[in-house]
């Protein structure tokens, strides 16, 4: 029934709006405080609009202490490399498991299941020791290599490929394509929904990851955004919240902007990776 109680609806909307306000409050204060002078912040007034606009000064400080451009670039490079490796390695493997018969399929499935259980936190100690002895700390290699294999990607693509009709592959074989050709020209073009979903999942996860970069990177030149922000906070002794908020704003913005622009894809991606996972 489409009839709505007006009272019920009013309560519902009030609840939703109040909740939304609470959830958005940090963003509102972040934007507001990034434009306030140190002195104004210390009056602890609740006014959201700065009395004098200090945005330029705060942003200048943020860009001055830590190379923000370098941080964002590192983030893009690391996330981009990780995603490319993950997809290039996972798709052929998932295809073989889904559509080809071979003896190791069961063993591989067991490995994937095991892998899904093990987060980076559990493997970081030996990996750190290994990267340390190979003198690879403070490098893109150290940041990217452990994530080049994503068992989750294999798992997600495996489920997606299983749902693809076998006839499609048989037809491609009769047309004379090699198995690699089938992967590139039949499977990948039909797997875009899964690939985009995984891209969102992967980029969000690795853009935000602090644990592993914190372990292998001590040199600012290789810092990813979260790690860079940590460095910035350390350099910014005291409570210069204006500059700090300006820095957080810069670092948060790319992913938030991407999310706002491609909301539908984000939600679909999260739903797909979430529910498959």
């Amino acid at each position: 029934m489409t009839q709505t109680f007006n009272l019920g609806r009013a309560i519902r909307l009030t609840l939703l709006s109040l909740g939304a306000l609470i959830f958005l409050a940090p963003y509102i204060f972040m934007i507001s405080t990034a434009g306030k002078a140190q002195s104004e912040i210390f009056t602890s007034s609740l006014s959201l609009i700065p009395t004098q606009f200090f945005y330029l000064e705060n942003f200048a400080k943020a860009f001055g202490r830590v190379s923000m451009g370098q941080l964002l670039w590192n983030g893009v490079v690391v996330c981009g490399l990780i995603f490319v490796f993950q997809v290039v390695i996972a798709i052929p493997c998932a295809y073989a498991m889904a559509k080809l018969k071979f003896g190791a399929a069961r063993l591989l499935m067991a490995l994937v299941m095991l892998g899904l259980l093990v987060p980076i936190h559990a493997t970081s100690l030996p990996l750190y020791v290994a990267f340390d002895s190979a003198a690879l700390l403070n490098s893109y290699t150290a940041l990217v290599a452990p994530f080049s294999i994503s068992v989750f990607a294999i798992f997600l693509f495996l489920q997606f490929f299983r749902a693809m009709p076998d006839d499609l592959i048989h037809a491609a074989r009769l047309d004379g394509m090699s198995e690699l050709g089938i992967v590139m020209r039949v499977i990948v073009p039909n797997a875009w929904p899964a690939i985009t979903a995984f891209a969102i999942f992967s980029v969000v996860a690795h853009w935000n990851d602090l644990y592993w970069p914190l372990i292998v990177v001590s040199n600012q030149a290789y810092a990813t955004p979260p790690l860079g922000l940590l460095f910035f906070r350390a350099a910014e002794a005291g409570d210069d919240y204006g500059a700090l908020m300006a820095a957080t704003l810069i670092i948060t913005l790319p992913l938030v902007a991407a999310f706002l622009l491609a909301q539908k894809r984000f939600v679909e991606g999260i739903t797909m990776t979430g529910l498959k996972g």
């Binding site: 519902r12 602890s44 073989a96 080809l100 259980l117 992913l255 529910l275």
Partner: protein, 320 residues
């Protein structure tokens, strides 16, 4: 963003074998052998990397847990269960386990219930659906370290807006992140704020997947009020989603690290020591790799237990 890699339990479905056509044997063998060889080639890079970055390190961490290995020393020896014995008596570790449990006990239920509540409200509302969805989901897409910094400002004891607001209505504001009594709850609050949107999205997907006909049938069967229909249709139909969301919420809560590292470094006075932070400190700051490995094994054991719990629950309870 929640890391979901640790969750899945697909029932492994063996590929159905097609009945073999009656063809002279050698031909079958050639084509089958060819198929197997291609499959191997396609799967080899993934297999090697799984062994290199997952299997070997897990074996290594279990082995290291039985040694006194410290980074910087070239030699180490096996010490049996000594590390585990030490863990047992380690006040910091026990505190850390306890704090993680408390944090999980707050964040998981709160973010599940709020996520479900928000999803139900949004689903039944026609106005502003996408706005509300965006608003609640935004924290999931935001850099947690950055947003934690914002929360630090919001919760600042003297200049923070939260305490300013409390002061306006005449309430004394606590030192949210600075006192041992409140720090864990403040972190939990941030944790809830960060994960509600994720759970909401999954619940929304679960809700849209419920066939409309079931609600119609329920109305005709005599479920007059929306509450009757909620218990007859919505809640049972959300069963699989709920089990999944619960596992993922618990596992993510157990893995809390970013906020602790950014805001409190486990302090004050170890009041916010959590499992991953303690492992990080022991392993990468004090470089006691052997000892930290033993902790890691405990951490892994917790995850494995969670997974099996979910496995059993899905198998038994929510199978249609």
């Amino acid at each position: 963003m929640a890391d979901m890699t640790a969750i899945s339990i697909p029932a492994e479905v063996p590929r159905q074998k097609a009945p073999k056509p009656i063809v002279p044997r050698p031909i079958v063998n050639v084509s089958e052998r060819h198929e197997a060889r291609v499959a191997w080639m396609l799967a080899a890079p993934a297999m090697i990397l799984i062994v290199l970055f997952i299997v070997a390190p897990v074996i290594a961490v279990i082995t290291l847990g039985f040694t006194d290995f410290e980074l910087g020393y070239s030699t180490f020896k096996f010490v049996g269960f000594e590390n585990y014995a030490e863990l047992f008596g380690d006040r910091t570790f026990r505190q850390s386990l306890w704090n993680t449990a408390i944090y999980t006990a707050i964040v998981a239920p709160a973010s599940i219930l709020l996520g479900l509540g928000v999803a139900l409200l949004i689903e039944s509302e026609t106005v502003g659906r996408s706005f509300f969805r965006t608003a609640y989901f935004l924290p999931v897409a935001s850099l947690l370290v950055a947003m934690a910094t914002v929360w630090q400002y919001l919760l600042h004891p003297t200049i923070g807006p939260v305490n300013s607001m409390l002061a306006m209505v005449g309430l004394p504001g606590p030192n949210w992140l600075g006192s041992a009594g409140t720090v864990l709850y403040s972190l939990s609050m941030i944790g809830v704020w960060q994960t509600v949107g994720f759970n909401m999205i999954l619940f929304l997907a679960g809700l849209t997947a419920i066939p409309r006909d079931l609600y119609s049938a329920a109305e005709i069967d005599g479920a007059k009020s929306p509450i009757d229909r909620f218990f007859l249709v919505t809640l049972p139909m959300l069963g699989p989603t709920t089990v999944f969301v619960t596992t993922i919420s618990i596992i993510n809560a157990v893995k809390v690290f970013e906020t602790v590292k950014t805001l409190t470094e486990g302090g004050p006075n170890k009041a916010s020591e959590v499992l991953l932070f303690t492992i990080y400190q022991e392993g990468f700051v004090y470089l006691r790799v052997g000892y930290a490995s033993a902790m890691t094994v405990v951490f892994l054991a917790v995850l494995v237990v969670m997974m099996f719990a979910q496995y059993r629950l899905v198998d038994r309870k929510v199978h249609y």
